[in-house]
Structures are given as structure tokens and as C-alpha cells.
């Protein structure tokens, strides 16, 4: 599935965007291959949405360039717009219009002939499971229904590249799974997908490759399983009494490097693997450390994130 840079659906070189003194996106390079789902993973304010807004022609880069669907976003924005579908964060949909009306408006905006507008609208409503709600005003839709309508709107012109900016933020688990399934199906049909997310599980489940972005820079990029393998050791997380933390830290350091964990807990990357856990417990006991809780985690994307940035993504989520 690897493409040469010239035929990549999304290619960014030194893509940069500053807002005054703030470097929202700080010289990122990325290449998304045709037919893959590429995940942009990072906390709020990392620069994900700014990068997407540049790639979708809504924002001009301060420096660098981006080629999307074969066209430069700065010099041929209309050609890019004809070929991409975009579902932006927060599903900005007019609540006073019905789902059908919005799809028909979208069809006109994308130049779909009048003769096809109604059938295309019906097809898309069916596809996202909103046929029954098509004539209801969007203001009466649930969050999940709005997201599905947003997805349908982005598909009206059969885009070859689809941008989904935090498509499941704020959704309940069931709605999230439904949307994931639809994204997978679109991808199977040949659509290249770039999705931004702050959810580790979403990136892990959906993306063929991910880029971890923090403070405007891409700090890791690759297949989720490769990135996790790079981190290597499983993480042992222990919760001990507050006045035993220093003693516990000394013990844990004998088994590997300490890793960032949630406040009040200590984590260590076990260099000899999970089989040394009993040794750790014995040493903690010998040091008279009172153990409250212990768990062992195989490397996760959060470990990858922590390894790359020094802080955890899950702790940053609001």
C-alpha cells in the first residue's frame, strides 16, 4: 500500500502554521498512502485540527506545502475541495434544517445535477441509517445521529480522500462503534481516510498507521503495533502509601526505568518482562512498602505517547 510521494493522497512537507507567537503546527512532514486509514493522535491543542484545516484548504500554511488528492492546497484549493470529504469537529450542522434538506443543499454546492440530488440524498440517508429521520429537523437529532449525518454530508460527492476531525468525540460507546464500522466500510470501498482523535483505542482500532502529534510536532509515526513494540517492556504500575513512595521508587528502579503514570502511582518499564513481577513484589515487601494496588500493562499507544513526550495522553484528556 506504499505510494511514492507523487501519488500519495496526502503529502505534507514542513507544513507550518503560526498564530502570532503560537506555533500551532510546527513543520510537520507526513505521507498518507492510498487506501489506508491514517490516524492523527494527540491531546487537545496538539495541532491536529489546525493541520486538518490546512490540508482541507480552510487555513493557509505559514510555511511548507501540502498536496492533497494530487493538488497543492494553496494553489489549487478548488481542485482539492472537489476530491475531498470533510467532517469537522463538533459537526457544525444547521439545527433548523432537516437532514434531507442539508444533504440536498450539499449536493447543489458540489455541483451534483438536480436529477441525481434526490436519489443521492436517499442513498446517503440509508447508508448512515437516517432514512426515518431524514425529514426531521437536525435540532431534534442525538449527538450520534448528527455525526452520522455529518459523515453523509461529507460523502455527497464520493470523495477519494476523507478527513474526519475527532469524529467520535462526545459520543456514547454504541454510537462510536457504529461510526467506526462505517469508517471501516468506506475504507474497504477504497476511500483514503485521515482521522484525528484523542482516543487511544480509536487510533489503535481503526488506523493502519498513526502519527502522534504533540505541541505542533509529529513525535512518532508508524503502524500501531510497531510503535508499541518499539516501547518494548510491559509497564508495572503500583499504588503504595504516600510515605512509602520513595522506598518503592528505589525498588522499582532495580527492574527498569520509571515511566510517567497517573498522579499517586508509580510505573516502571520491566526490562526483563512480566515474569519478574513476583520478584518486584518480594523486594517491595522486604523494603516494608505497603502495596495497595498493582497492575501490569502490555505496551499501549499511551506508553508510546508517554515515551515520546514525557507525559501521558490519557491524563491530559478533559
Amino acid at each position: 500500500m506504499t505510494n511514492s510521494p507523487s501519488n500519495s493522497p496526502i503529502l505534507a512537507e514542513n507544513l507550518t502554521r503560526h498564530f502570532g507567537e503560537v506555533k500551532a503546527v510546527d513543520g510537520i512532514d507526513m505521507q498518507v498512502n492510498a487506501g489506508e486509514i491514517f490516524g492523527f493522535l494527540g491531546p487537545n491543542g496538539a495541532g491536529k485540527s489546525t493541520a486538518v484545516r490546512m490540508l482541507t484548504t480552510l487555513l493557509r500554511p505559514t510555511a511548507g506545502r501540502a498536496i492533497v488528492a494530487g493538488f497543492d492546497v494553496a494553489t489549487h484549493p478548488d481542485e482539492v475541495r472537489r476530491r475531498i470529504g470533510v467532517a469537522l469537529q463538533d459537526a457544525a450542522i444547521d439545527p433548523l434544517m432537516t437532514g434531507s434538506e442539508l444533504l440536498q443543499l450539499q449536493a447543489v454546492l458540489y455541483g451534483i445535477p438536480s436529477s441525481q440530488t434526490k436519489s443521492r440524498t436517499a442513498e446517503l440517508l440509508e447508508r448512515v441509517g437516517l432514512t426515518a429521520a431524514g425529514d426531521r429537523r437536525v435540532g431534534t437529532y442525538s449527538g450520534g445521529m448528527r455525526r452520522r449525518l455529518d459523515l453523509a454530508l461529507s460523502l455527497i460527492h464520493q470523495p477519494t480522500v476523507l478527513f474526519l476531525d475527532e469524529p467520535t468525540t462526545g459520543l456514547d460507546p454504541m454510537s462510536r462503534l457504529t461510526l467506526w464500522e462505517e469508517v471501516r466500510r468506506l475504507n474497504r470501498e477504497g476511500t483514503t481516510v485521515l482521522l484525528t482523535t484523542q482516543y487511544l483505542e480509536e487510533a489503535d482500532q481503526l488506523a493502519d498507521r498513526i502519527a502522534i502529534i504533540d505541541k505542533g510536532k509529529i513525535v512518532r509515526e508508524g503502524k500501531p503495533q510497531d510503535l508499541k513494540a518499539e516501547v518494548g517492556f510491559p509497564t508495572l504500575i503500583v499504588n503504595v502509601q504516600k510515605d512509602h513512595q520513595d522506598a518503592a521508587r528505589s525498588v522499582l528502579l532495580q527492574f527498569g526505568e520509571l515511566r510517567p503514570t497517573a498522579e499517586g502511582t508509580l510505573g516502571v518499564g520491566l526490562r526483563d518482562g512480566a515474569q519478574v513481577v513476583t520478584d518486584v513484589v518480594r523486594k517491595l515487601d522486604e523494603a516494608h512498602v505497603h502495596l495497595i494496588h498493582l497492575e501490569i500493562n502490555e505496551p499501549s499507544l499511551d506508553d508510546v505517547f508517554a515515551d515520546a513526550t514525557g507525559h501521558r495522553l490519557e491524563g491530559d484528556k478533559s
Binding site: V86, M97, R127, L155, Q158
Partner: protein, 271 residues
């Protein structure tokens, strides 16, 4: 759930731009009429003021300088139309600001459409609402004594003029909306419009005014918008009436649209 979509090639042509602008105007009009809380006041209050004026100022029609009228209501019909259209225009512009605030405007910008068409479509919705308002005010007040000397032809011109005035004021308010991206800021211009209306010849003829009030009314464009329509009501068709009712608002409209478009260009360029 297993439909396979057919790809569609889009291109930008005059016909397509027209269709897109029409679709935007349609959306804007529907959106307006689906908000009774916004439509109601801009329809009811001008009629309320007209009724209040008719009952309170009927003796004013005998003042020196007051034109020959059948009733004060007949005199105030034009002012009622302009007043309603002014307030309605604020509603349309506030909706544009809301579109920018909540991200719907970005959705429109993501489409391969003319940026001018997006704005003109929104403004056309304001014009349609203005024309509907004018027709409604005429239909309601005519049976109560607001007779139009130029008859149905004049009424049609007034409806058209109402649409153009709505387009002109809507464009100016849209410039504010685009500049600030704040519905509150647009709504904040309402008192300014009210003051402009108050210091015009909307409620009394300029001939009955004196001093500073008269001087302001003389240079206030609202005076000329009202007087054009008023001439159609009180006198009948004339070149002067047509010029004031159609050409003056059209001229203001062209300038206002250019200001709004420039503001849009500035906003897009600053992205």
C-alpha cells in the same frame, strides 16, 4: 445500507453558481421562517407602532407642512415597511454570524463554490424576507386606511423596494457579522438602526421639523428610503417616486454589497 455511490464531476459555471446561490437563498429563507421568535417581533412591532401612531397622532396631519393624507396610517405605511425591513435585516445578518460562530460557514467554504455566491445567497434570503414583510404590512394596513394612491402597481414597487432595502441593510449588517463573527455584535447594531430611524422623516415629514433634528433628517439615508415609498402611497407613480423607491435603495445596496464582499475577502485572506 449497501448503496454504492456514483462519482460526480463538479465544475464551476455561471449556471451552477446561480443554482448554488438560489439554494443558499432558499436555505436562508426557510431558516428565517422557522424561527417564529425572530420573525414575530419584526412583523408585529412595526404594525403595533403604526396602530399606536394612527391613534395618537391623527391630529398631526393638520400641521402646517404635513402632506395631504387620508389618515396618519396612510402617512406611516412607508415608515412601517422600512422599519420592519430594517429590523428583519438584523435577523438575517445575525444568522450569518451564527453560521460563522458554529462552523457551518466553514462547511460552505469547504465546497468548491464561489465565495461570493455563498454571501449573495445569504443576502438574497434577507431580500426575500424583506419583500414578504413589505407585502404583509401593506396587506394588513391597507384595509384600515393605508390606501396606496398608485394602487396595486405601487404596492408591487413597494414590495420590490422593501426587498432592495432589506438587501442593502442586510449587506451592511452582514459586513458587521463577517468582521466580528458575533451574533451579539450584530444584534448590538439594533439601537443604532432605531436611532437612525427615529432621526429620519419616517414618523413626521421633514417639512414639520426644525433645527438639529431637521438637519440630521436631511442627511439621513433612511429619510430618502421612506420618502420614496411614501410618494407612491400619497401621490402616485412619478419619476421622482420611482427614483427614490428603487434607484436610491439600489445604489445604497450596490455599495453595501461591495462592503460586505470586501469584508469577506479580508476575512478569508486572514485565514
Amino acid at each position: 445500507m449497501s448503496t454504492v455511490l456514483q462519482p460526480v464531476a463538479a465544475s464551476r459555471s455561471f449556471g451552477l453558481s446561480l443554482r448554488q446561490t438560489r439554494a443558499m437563498a432558499w436555505r436562508s429563507t426557510k431558516e428565517t421562517f422557522r424561527q417564529p421568535a425572530l420573525v414575530g417581533p419584526s412583523m408585529i412591532f412595526p404594525i403595533f407602532f403604526a396602530a399606536l401612531g394612527a391613534s395618537s397622532f391623527s391630529r398631526a396631519t393638520s400641521l402646517p407642512g404635513f402632506p395631504k393624507v387620508e389618515s396618519f396610517l396612510q402617512f406611516s405605511l412607508a415608515a412601517t415597511v422600512v422599519q420592519g425591513v430594517l429590523f428583519g435585516s438584523v435577523t438575517g445578518a445575525a444568522a450569518l454570524a451564527t453560521d460563522i460562530q458554529n462552523g457551518f460557514f466553514d462547511r460552505l467554504l469547504l465546497a468548491p463554490t464561489s465565495r461570493t455566491g455563498i454571501l449573495i445567497g445569504r443576502l438574497a434570503g434577507s431580500a426575500i424576507f424583506g419583500a414578504v414583510q413589505a407585502a404583509a404590512f401593506i396587506a394588513v394596513l391597507w384595509p384600515f386606511g393605508a390606501t396606496i394612491k398608485s394602487s396595486f402597481g405601487g404596492a408591487l414597487v413597494m414590495v420590490l423596494s422593501g426587498g432592495i432595502v432589506a438587501l442593502a441593510i442586510g449587506s451592511l449588517m452582514s459586513a458587521v457579522a463577517i468582521k466580528t463573527a458575533s451574533a451579539e455584535a450584530v444584534q448590538g447594531t439594533f439601537p443604532l438602526l432605531f436611532i437612525l430611524l427615529f432621526f429620519s422623516s419616517a414618523f413626521f415629514p421633514r417639512e414639520t421639523m426644525s433645527g438639529l433634528y431637521r438637519n440630521i433628517a436631511d442627511v439621513n439615508p433612511i429619510s430618502y428610503l421612506v420618502e420614496g415609498m411614501r410618494e407612491l402611497v400619497l401621490v402616485g407613480f412619478s419619476t421622482s417616486a420611482m427614483a427614490k423607491a428603487i434607484f436610491i435603495p439600489t445604489a445604497i445596496c450596490v455599495v453595501a454589497i461591495l462592503i460586505a464582499l470586501r469584508q469577506l475577502r479580508v476575512r478569508l485572506a486572514s485565514r
